[in-house]
């Protein structure tokens, strides 16, 4: 069977499809658990049964989302074993520990306290029920921690050592893995984006009740909680986004350059607030990358390096290298990567011949160049550049929408506080129409994170072409469409069941 680029592309497309569908369900669970916990806390504090009714309604929608989304992530585990078996073997130890912890934690925390949360209203005391609801919220969010630690490691591999005898990365520092700055910022940014999405979900549905002039008190109560939670978490999202961008600048400068369509690096680099990329622009030519753009001067330098005057390398600088800014060219990295690959081959050969002195020499040469090993598999320097248009537009859609959400939360909270929201039909429609955009922003965020780090499965160490298995392309194509149908059916089921429950309203719960 020939291991082709087509096979890798289909394996990537399949993984992207399953991850993107999985991510339609997860952030709502992450955020709604906290909103429900806050509502129940108000009920326990005030004793007002209207808050209990409110809590139970949103808890019902949480249950629907949780049930439909449950186990959609398992498909990715299947894909690791089949489509990405090389990768799974190579990273085995790094992925194994966090995922095992996640499995145990999610199973015990969620299965125990979910049952109390849903079935225990009349079986346990108010306070025990409340504690269970909070533990579900914390547990759900903690289970996201471990998978994001694993993902953070792929973007910034720390705390590990490659074993040339087993061809596996082995963990040498668990805490370096857990406190990997990339993983920490990714975790905080991801969960806070889930809080924002859930807040928009609650506001959007509540706005619909206000438009329909039904269950208005329930809707207003829900909006106050969601607006406050959304505003606070949006501000937090902004700061975690800033830290994420800083980490990208430090560890994945090519990704940052692609996200901004920056070819020719500069000091005091600006952020493109909006712009239209020129698709005919090629690496190294003199063309302007944009048909038009509006920049905020110095903002990219500040975002990336927390210094308004910092130099931000562009795609051309990273490809060609720069002595002035201490950048090694991709050509040089490819040379060192090839030495690493050849040294690993020599180590293996000498070891087989039992020629230990030569094997040790080869191992030293491997270790000296291992940092660039992945570059040894690239065919040309341009292969180190991700899809610029995809990274640029996804990033700008995410940031643009995130900014709009912040404004919407502030307006929604203000209008709620002055008791005017139900009178502003234009705003209610705006809130309702914004709700689906929360998912657009979520998916755009994942596209930036994953498409932006291409060609790497593990940053600088393993390109996706080397990570994928040598299996039949046709089988990957078949399962791609199978999943597309399966997940679409699940999504339709979720939307239909949710719409039915929303139409029934809080009194039906």
């Amino acid at each position: 069977m020939e291991h082709t680029e087509l096979l890798t592309d289909w394996s990537r497309a399949q993984f992207a499809l399953t991850a993107l569908y999985h991510w339609l369900f997860v952030p709502l669970t992450l955020g709604l658990t906290f909103i429900v916990a806050i509502m129940e806390t108000i009920y326990v504090k005030t004793g007002d049964t209207k808050w209990k009714e409110t809590t139970k309604f949103w808890m019902g929608l949480l249950a629907i989302n949780f049930a439909i989304g449950l186990a959609t992530g398992i498909i990715m585990e299947f894909e690791f074993g089949t489509n990405w078996s090389n990768y799974s073997w190579i990273v085995g130890d790094i992925f194994g520990a966090p995922l095992a912890i996640e499995g145990l934690m999610a199973f015990f925390l969620e299965s125990t306290f979910f049952a109390v949360m849903f079935f225990g209203w009349n079986k346990v005391s108010k306070k025990t029920h409340l504690v269970s609801t909070w533990l579900v919220a914390v547990g759900s969010n903690l289970s996201a921690l471990w998978i994001l630690i694993a993902n953070g490691w792929m973007q910034n591999p720390v705390g590990m050592k490659f074993n040339p005898d087993t061809a596996r990365h082995e963990m040498v520092d668990f805490w370096a893995l857990v406190f990997n700055p990339n993983a920490v910022s990714k975790f905080l940014h991801t969960i806070s984006s889930g809080y924002v999405l859930a807040s928009l979900f609650v506001i959007g549905i509540s706005a619909w009740y206000l438009i329909k002039k039904r269950d208005t008190q329930f809707a207003r109560r829900s909006i106050i909680v969601a607006s406050s939670f959304g505003l606070i978490t949006s501000l937090f999202l902004l700061t975690t986004g800033d830290e994420s961008a800083h980490q990208v600048a430090l560890n994945q400068p090519m990704k940052l350059a692609a996200m901004e369509g920056l070819y020719d690096g500069e000091e005091r680099a600006g952020i493109v607030a909006f712009g239209l990329l020129d698709q005919t622009k090629e690496i190294g030519d003199e063309k302007d990358p944009f048909h038009f753009s509006f920049e905020i001067p110095g903002a990219l330098s500040f975002l990336g390096y927390h210094d308004l005057n910092a130099f931000v390398p562009g795609i051309d600088n990273l490809i060609e290298g720069s002595e002035k800014y201490g950048l090694i060219s991709v050509k040089e990295k490819m040379k060192r990567g090839k030495i690493a690959v050849a040294s690993l081959a020599a180590y293996k050969r000498y070891k087989k011949q039992n020629n230990m002195p030569e094997a040790q020499k080869a191992l030293k040469a491997f270790e000296a160049n291992q940092k660039y090993m992945g570059y040894g598999y690239l065919k040309k320097p341009e292969d180190a550049v991700p899809n610029v248009a995809l990274s640029f537009y996804s990033f700008h859609i995410m940031v643009g929408l995130g900014t709009w959400f912040l404004v919407l939360f502030a307006m929604s909270l203000y209008l709620s506080m002055i008791n005017e929201m139900h009178k502003k039909k234009w705003f209610l429609y705006l809130a309702l129409l914004t709700m689906p955009l929360a998912w657009v922003a979520q998916e755009a965020g994942w596209i930036v994170a994953e498409a932006g780090r291409q060609p790497w499965a593990i940053q600088d160490l393993l390109p996706v072409g080397m990570a994928s298995s040598n299996i039949s392309t046709t089988s990957v194509m078949i399962t791609f469409w199978l999943f597309a149908v399966l997940f679409t059916a699940l999504l339709i089921a979720e939307v239909k069941i949710m719409l039915k429950q929303i139409k029934i309203g809080p009194e039906g719960h």
Binding site: A71, E79, T82, F119, K123, S469, L490
Partner: protein, 75 residues
Amino acid sequence: MKNRIVNFFKWIYFLYYDGFTSMKVGKTLWLLIVIKLFVMFVIVKWLFFPDVLKENFHSDEERSAYILDTLTKER
């Protein structure tokens, strides 16, 4: 002590039993979960997603050797 343990398990049993029997939407959701898990684990996993390295090699040594070969093959 023994009684307390028995009562605790009885309590858990009735928590789930009463919860499941009084469900409304929950029944549809459970049906969906069962169908989904059947499709995923029985059809999808069994037919289309073998663990490639587990199936093709007998030991970790063989798997390591295969991956090392793949990583160091001349291109």
